[in-house]
Symmetry: C2
Subunit: 202 residues, 2 copies
């Protein structure tokens, strides 16, 4: 929304225990929930495609139909495959479990997450070798989807940037965008960010 210069107000929710107001807006009990002119829209993909339709200026699903398919393929890759194979195993274990049950992370699950992360970093690095941004020459929804998840893992200090030079250059471009700089100021209660987290020259 910042990329599209849309003004908005964020309301924090705990994903594992939604407030009664949030449950009223989305009885399915899933985040994110987006309220716009009295409309309630939920579902990550639905919200992004909706914003693209009502704010077509400064497109984030950009280019011709073929290129938009590439943007959507990569967005889906990170929203689903990366989420399932990496994010769930690392972030849910290290952060969510702590808040829900106070339990320590399961080292076996973490290990699976770290192994998968290396596989995905290789793919990211390969994409960034020939492309300025993930889907091509322009910044797109694919970059947002990838950076949103990577930044939390980077907050925890778990992204092996050193082995992936092209991916690192790409991520420094993302970090320097005004829309992203604001996000880097956020914190997770009780967990300090890695030293380089909000450093643009990491």
């Amino acid at each position: 929304m910042s990329e599209k210069h849309i003004l908005f107000v964020l309301k924090e929710e705990e994903p594992w225990k939604l407030s009664p107001e949030a449950l009223k807006l989305n009885p399915a009990g899933e985040l994110p929930i987006f309220v716009f002119d009295g409309n309630v829209i939920s579902g990550n993909n639905g919200i992004c495609e909706f914003l693209e339709e009502v704010h077509p200026d400064e497109p984030l699903i950009n280019g011709d139909a073929r290129h938009r398919a590439e943007v959507r393929r990569l967005t889906e890759w990170f929203d689903n495959k990366f989420y399932r194979e990496v994010y769930r195993n690392i972030v849910i274990e290290k952060v969510f479990r702590r808040f829900v049950s106070g339990a320590a992370p399961d080292s076996k699950i973490l290990k699976v997450g770290f192994n998968n992360l290396n596989f995905h970093m290789e793919y990211l690095d390969w994409l960034c070798e020939t492309r300025k941004f993930l889907s091509g020459d322009e910044y797109s929804l694919a970059d947002i989807s990838a950076a949103a998840q990577l930044s939390i893992i980077d907050y925890l200090g778990d992204v092996p940037w050193e082995g992936y030079k092209n991916a690192k250059i790409w991520y420094s471009k993302i970090k320097s965008r005004p829309s992203f700089k604001e996000i880097l100021k956020d914190g997770i209660k009780g967990i300090l960010p890695s030293k380089h987290y909000s450093n643009l020259d990491f």
Copy 2:
């Protein structure tokens, strides 16, 4: 594609062991893969949005921006949430495991899948109580996404239709569509369909 009257040729792949040709088309090793005028598109959402853009007649993501958001929300619901909570626990256990390792399904995982299925059937039934199709008055991508997964579970005889009258009426409408009738002729090697599977009046 049948709904949009697009001619196509299907090539069967085993998801757990892609052919060299398929891996060449999508090095990520994920299905579905769609080849169109020399373009290769992969990713479920990317393919569907692409088809919608190049074949806007007979739209499946239909209505105004608000309604299209509802279509996408429900499509995402079934493609991700239902897939994760129900499909994986039932279909991967009962069908995929059999082909990959020959192992019997894990009864604990199956039980989780059946419990979740009841929860999702309630939601489906609730939607169908006030709507002709899942997203509203018109047939849409949401119906296709839901029916695609339910039909395999129904093939296995595991959908508790009796408790969900409205969902059952909806599914009989889906089954009678020409595009769907063809699909009901397909079979899974070595597993017989439930008695009522391709029966329009079940």
